[in-house]
Symmetry: D2
Subunit: 140 residues, 4 copies
Amino acid sequence: MGLAFDAAGLGAYLQEVFAEVANDFVIDRLDEDGITMRLLVDERHLRPGGTISGPSMFGLADVTVYALVLSQLGRKALAVTTNASFDFMRKPVGGTPLVAEGKLLKLGRQLAVGDVLLFSEGDPRPVARSTMTYAIPPER
Amino acid sequence: MGLAFDAAGLGAYLQEVFAEVANDFVIDRLDEDGITMRLLVDERHLRPGGTISGPSMFGLADVTVYALVLSQLGRKALAVTTNASFDFMRKPVGGTPLVAEGKLLKLGRQLAVGDVLLFSEGDPRPVARSTMTYAIPPER
Amino acid sequence: MGLAFDAAGLGAYLQEVFAEVANDFVIDRLDEDGITMRLLVDERHLRPGGTISGPSMFGLADVTVYALVLSQLGRKALAVTTNASFDFMRKPVGGTPLVAEGKLLKLGRQLAVGDVLLFSEGDPRPVARSTMTYAIPPER
Amino acid sequence: MGLAFDAAGLGAYLQEVFAEVANDFVIDRLDEDGITMRLLVDERHLRPGGTISGPSMFGLADVTVYALVLSQLGRKALAVTTNASFDFMRKPVGGTPLVAEGKLLKLGRQLAVGDVLLFSEGDPRPVARSTMTYAIPPER
């Protein structure tokens, strides 16, 4: 099955439906194997000691899996997060973009599950991992 | 064991160590049974459709468990979140304070585990639940 | 809304649809507020040091939430577990029944979410907590 | 850093410390990148409809991460599971070995985190994913 968007098309669509946050994120790669997204780290994402806040990591993981779902389903912005799990393993570096590598593990009729590793750009050790479940409302 | 802080003292301490976010939160109750915290919902916590963003819910759950850990351990601001799980069950109401009811399930030497239910004020059905684990660094 | 079963009726129904494991469990209480289930701990549930195995704790938490879903939906044995989270907080006592206190946090059309605390009988400190999500297949 | 065991040595060590369950599992591969373990599916792992039980999947994921921790730390059997998350995505095939692909995401002084995908042998789509955290007791 082909993707419903390429990286540029998906970025434009996120701008359209999710304008509040779309400017914080860049899609570096989108293909059949998954997605690479990047949080453009700004002062408001930081915590004392120059690390990146938990809510900012949550936001990046969540938009990464949402983008994966949209890349398969196309212009159905209705999927909602129902479950999230996180392991925070290392301190992200504050002054460095936070990069998410995501892939879909399942795309069913009712549920989609995506897996994300977060990295401080340039360091191969993950700072966090997350799995997100999205519920896909039944077609009307 | 007595608490290291009362609600007002803990609120002041959060202001001191966590100034970036402390103004978003109010402690309504702190006692041996747990804590009630409230997110003062502002435009930047919202999402289209007037609901509250996932990162804002993450932030409230996280600060709730952090506050519980501090209320027991006192002025040790070093505990770090290592794991988080979330179930998002209902849409929170955007114009309404988001209220967290938290309690500690475990306070060990290395790990503390806290459980949180989130509510839209005035509705008894939880919008989300979360469990957070904090690692407590060994004393030097 | 009334329950579809009382404790005895639900126990009998579990025997009918889940015979392999139903003999391991007893329902102590079932009412609108939740359920109390008990694992009748047997040699095969144990681990070295006389503690109860992780799979046995998983099984008790899972059957507890399944029973809660059945108590609401009646004879629809088709719900399947889609997500589980666990925090293991203390060592359960091997020679003692393991007791689960469960309650439903959400019963939607597609998803049900239940929360469980596990205790070694007679000790008020939880040995583990779990949340389970069940997907409810659409009616045909 | 080299591994403390090769696959055969680790299998023998698991037999020594974990005899109750070690006969259910085979280590197919152990190297710096991770581990492949296999559950030798037996009648007692099954559920109606010929699928594999949740507790059996829990057990395989748990022993997989435990084996990864041991492969790094050597003969320190004291690590204990503190957190587990699961997404169950497809029905495993009952008559087929269940295969786990595991890797360590973090090995710290206090905590180790491992990630596992479970497959029905011969099908590339994962039936489940799990993350497990082990706490490593401080050296005495």
